[in-house]
Symmetry: C2
């Protein structure tokens, strides 16, 4: 796999977004969010998705010059209509608003409608950290997940992210799909021609399946917990809460009406709202207690969990955010490895748009 310097990939994405008509500040921001996923090792949400976004622009399902605006607000809340913007742009816009609200009201909560795929949830939640705030980000997504007892795909993988500042320790950053396995995990198995573990997927009759291609045959992803006996009703609850806060509260499409992220599938013809929805929160630490006391105890929390007794000494206890932070250190130094298929796809995009593709390291 060829490796690319993150700043080169960022410049490349920026040229692409400029080429399709994004204003310079939005092109820069979207590229920043996209490449941060690659830096953090979340390859499924990084530059691998760039050509997917561009195909949605081509189909006029993403607006390159949106008028993102507040349509409703209170001291600690706002609802934003993203006007069909890239989620990579509307999400930081909304998170910034949540942070501004929190500065005055103690907390800020922003629901977003009429948006698109927002990339890596953790990026948006982490925007709160430098302000000594707890950040929360979630989004709904196109329906791939069957509720407990159901054959119907009613929910997306609906991720939630929480970023919590610490003092001397690095922050606690949890970012996860509310399903047993994220869709990106299936794509890896498909590429490698491997079977899926039991409990990730059901087939079109509702039986457990080990076929990572089952979704194209009418199957569904399973909520976190896998089956009723192992708590899938809890994963179904979590995915539902994300869907309701992101979309029923904002005026976006929810449940089975969420438009697909891929350009080759049309959105439902009977929408119940506009675009997809997100939900963001920012909570000022010192709206609850003295920030230095919180940061001190958060250090102690992290320290005690990191030093919990491992089952196997070679596999220590992980603090949420550790693996992504380690990936970022490594990839800032050695570059971002691109899967050859992804590199080919990006080279083709570059040539179609007349944009220069960067040299590898």
């Amino acid at each position: 796999m060829n490796h690319f310097h993150h700043s080169k990939l960022k410049e490349f994405c920026e040229s692409v977004f400029l080429e399709i008509g994004c204003p310079p500040n939005q092109a820069k921001l979207a590229s920043q969010v996209l490449v941060s996923a690659d830096l953090r090792g979340v390859d499924s949400h990084g530059v691998a998705r760039l050509s997917g976004y561009i195909r949605l622009f081509d189909k006029k399902r993403i607006n390159s010059t949106p008028n993102i605006r507040i349509v409703h607000e209170s001291p600690s809340t706002a609802t934003v209509n993203a006007d069909g913007a890239l989620g990579l742009v509307s999400a930081p816009w909304a998170m910034h608003l949540a942070i501004s609200k929190a500065k005055i009201a103690g907390t800020g909560w922003v629901a977003v409608s009429n948006s698109n795929h927002f990339g890596i949830a953790g990026y948006h939640a982490m925007m709160a950290l430098e302000h000594n705030m707890i950040g929360i980000a979630m989004t709904n997504a196109s329906p791939l997940v069957a509720p407990t007892h159901s054959l119907s795909r009613m929910l997306g993988t609906n991720p939630m992210a929480f970023a919590i500042p610490a003092g001397k320790q690095p922050p606690f950053v949890a970012d996860f799909a509310t399903t047993t396995a994220a869709n990106g995990k299936l794509e890896i198995l498909q590429r490698k021609n491997l079977k899926a573990p039991e409990g990730w997927i059901q087939d079109q009759s509702g039986n457990s399946s080990d076929n990572p291609n089952e979704l194209s045959l009418g199957g569904a992803l399973l909520p976190l917990g896998s089956d009723r006996e192992h708590g899938s009703h809890k994963g179904y609850c979590l995915g539902s809460v994300v869907d309701i806060l992101s979309a029923v509260l904002s005026g976006a499409n929810y449940g089975p009406w969420v438009p697909p992220f891929v350009a080759f599938l049309d959105p439902p013809s009977d929408p119940v709202g506009e675009g997809i929805g997100h939900f963001f929160g920012a909570m000022r630490i010192d709206a609850f207690r003295k920030a230095e006391d919180f940061l001190h105890h958060m250090d102690n929390w992290i320290d005690s969990f990191r030093n919990a007794k491992p089952i196997d000494v070679s596999q220590p206890i992980i603090i949420p955010g550790d693996p992504e932070r380690e990936a970022e250190i490594e990839r800032r130094a050695s570059g971002i490895p691109l899967n050859p298929k992804v590199e080919d796809d990006l080279r083709e995009l570059a040539s179609n748009l007349g944009v220069k593709f960067p040299e590898s390291i």
Copy 2:
């Protein structure tokens, strides 16, 4: 099993709380919360716990005449020191405060320290419903759960509850432990001498165990997801977020320092905060969009999920809150069945305190 009218059980609990010195309004409120768990079919959190609370009073670990007070606040937040109150009292107090804040600021968020077991989380979250608000309630609890890869019990079953109002439909009410199985489920298996399903518990060496008594042998409950392959790191994240919001933010004990709910185990001798912690939220619907639009779409959300295609027609899709609402209808009509062991325990408590135990139906 004998059945008891809910109002008789409530009067009984009230007499007990009065007998140990609670002010009348607190005795009434605590009884209301306790019996609401029995009404909703959540037997593990109802009157079965009454004598456990009383034993903690006897040990001076619960304060019957607390001075519950705000120690820090902002327009949308507050931190409350519950002064060792019954959680059954401090939780509605704090949720009421969150609702008051939300009336003015759009949302209200209250972290509580120096509290005790708060009973059924759903009760507190549901307080928001009559105000056309979304309610959120969570609490930490004594450590029984091992993080992914660990032998150490670092987290409680740390439940979270979400109550979301609808229009013509009954509300969406999710209330669940962030573990694969709640501790109450193990107690049922212990009573019936049955084995536990794989994925609920690990033994003291970290191997999967089917022994429902494993916790007394040094084992641990597993986070939602059961093992790494099935997403236990996500359940570990959820339980951690509940712990941090409830306790690191409020100044309560967190992680392995959370005091046990049972009187025969002493609290850790090196506390990092006061008592156990809770976290509550209230979000006014019309701080985001017109309430009637939200309620209409929430009805549509519920309707579409309830009518999703079932795997087995005899097992329809459940909307969170359905089973508890059905239990409440049944038990309001036919009374609350008490397990004979629980009835004996309550009769003994009644006789010790010189309080009359009610007649069964």
